[in-house]
């Protein structure tokens, strides 16, 4: 049986798709058979972030409506052979997704994969509810910013009341906090919520902290999940988070501002890799 993981946040633009792409790639790089599903019907973007946008033939809606078989809609990643992508439809509206349809897709994928990652759309409408409904675990992506923290709290409430596990009164969905776009310099200056503040308010276990990094935009420009950029702090932070998810004990890194080096470093080396 595969583990179903939803990547969710409530708020848009906090890094759900970046996280889904990085995390799925990270699990696959560690040999886990992983599939990542885009639930944002009508506004798909996971294909672009994964760099497979030119190869999309069929999507999840085609599969649910019986127009294509699941293995025809799955896109095998060319970089990591244990990784597949199931794109969202770009042309249909969100009502094309049904609970029964999604259940069938997830059950069929369960037979072939170790991990099924569901990249949720923003909001708490149908697409987002379906993305989290079947989850065993949830990665809640949060920026250290008031509206993001509030929306994460809201989505935690939804996970506890509207997921299949909650409806069936089974053990609750395992929650993980992933703080993204963290800027240690601004947090230290008191211009940004501190990590401890976010942890205290949301009170769920911390899976990782991904610092604000130029490499995220570069990764999206080129369609390469940022976790493949091993030089970058964001890539390393995602890699650590995947390790922790799989049970490794790794200290959190990149939480403190980098201490200033010599004159040259101050003049030229100030940018995050």
């Amino acid at each position: 049986m595969a583990q179903v993981i939803v990547v969710t946040s409530g708020k848009g633009g906090v890094g759900k798709t970046t996280t889904s792409a990085a995390f799925a790639t990270g699990l696959a790089l560690r040999g886990k058979k992983t599939v990542v599903i885009d639930f944002d019907v009508g506004l798909r973007n996971l294909d672009l972030i994964m760099g497979v946008e030119r190869r999309v033939v069929f999507d999840i809606v085609n599969v649910i409506q019986g127009e294509a078989r699941l293995n025809q809609a799955l896109i095998r990643d060319k970089r990591v052979d244990t990784l597949s992508i199931l794109p969202a439809s770009q042309t249909r509206d969100k009502d094309a997704l049904t609970k029964e349809g999604v259940q069938k897709v997830i059950e069929e994928l369960s037979a072939d994969f170790d991990y099924i990652l569901c990249d949720s759309p923003a909001g708490i409408e149908k697409g987002a509810l379906l993305a989290l409904y079947f989850a065993d675990q949830a990665i809640v992506v949060t920026n250290p910013e008031v509206s993001s923290v509030r929306d994460s709290d809201r989505i935690l409430g939804v996970l506890q009341s509207k997921s299949k596990r909650s409806e069936e009164k089974r053990e609750k969905v395992k929650e993980h906090l992933l703080v993204t776009r963290f800027d240690p310099v601004r947090a230290e200056r008191g211009e940004m919520l501190k990590l401890e503040d976010v942890r205290e308010i949301l009170a769920i276990p911390l899976l990782g902290v991904v610092p604000e990094s130029e490499s995220v935009l570069r990764a999206s420009n080129t369609g390469t999940p940022v976790i493949m950029d091993r030089e970058s702090v964001a890539g390393q932070a995602y890699s650590d988070a995947v390790g922790r998810f799989l049970g490794e004990e790794l200290p959190h890194r990149f939480l403190e501002p980098e201490r200033k080096g010599g004159l040259f470093k101050r003049l030229f080396g100030g940018r995050a890799a």
Binding site: E53, R54, R55, A68, Q72, T91, R218, S220, G262, F264
Partner: protein, 99 residues
């Protein structure tokens, strides 16, 4: 990082990625804009192709692979249909004839 590294990293730096972003967007959007005015024909195309082939050969619909590569000037659509081997009786008849 020492000051020497500064010169080294600059030399090795990858070319800026924004141009790649623009090129990828131009290709994907060109295809999506066409799609807005026309219904997605791929599911029907696949069904009809499989139906035509199935008229001549018994095929397993699960063994039809479709690959698409959208390009700027040209796209390629690859349809791979696995044909089954000759039926068992034919093989036996052949074996009998040869023997």
């Amino acid at each position: 990082m020492s000051w020497l590294d500064f010169f080294r990293t600059r030399k090795q730096a990858d070319p800026p990625s924004a141009s790649q972003a623009k090129e990828r967007l131009q290709i994907v959007l060109a295809h999506e804009r066409i799609g807005r005015t026309r219904e997605d024909f791929l599911p029907r195309l696949q069904q009809e192709l499989v139906a035509v082939v199935a008229r001549y050969v018994a095929i397993d619909p699960g063994k039809v692979n479709i690959n698409l590569d959208r390009g700027g000037d040209m796209s390629t659509l690859e349809i791979e249909i696995e044909l089954p081997g000759p039926p068992q009786e034919v093989k036996l008849q052949r074996a009998a004839a040869a023997g």
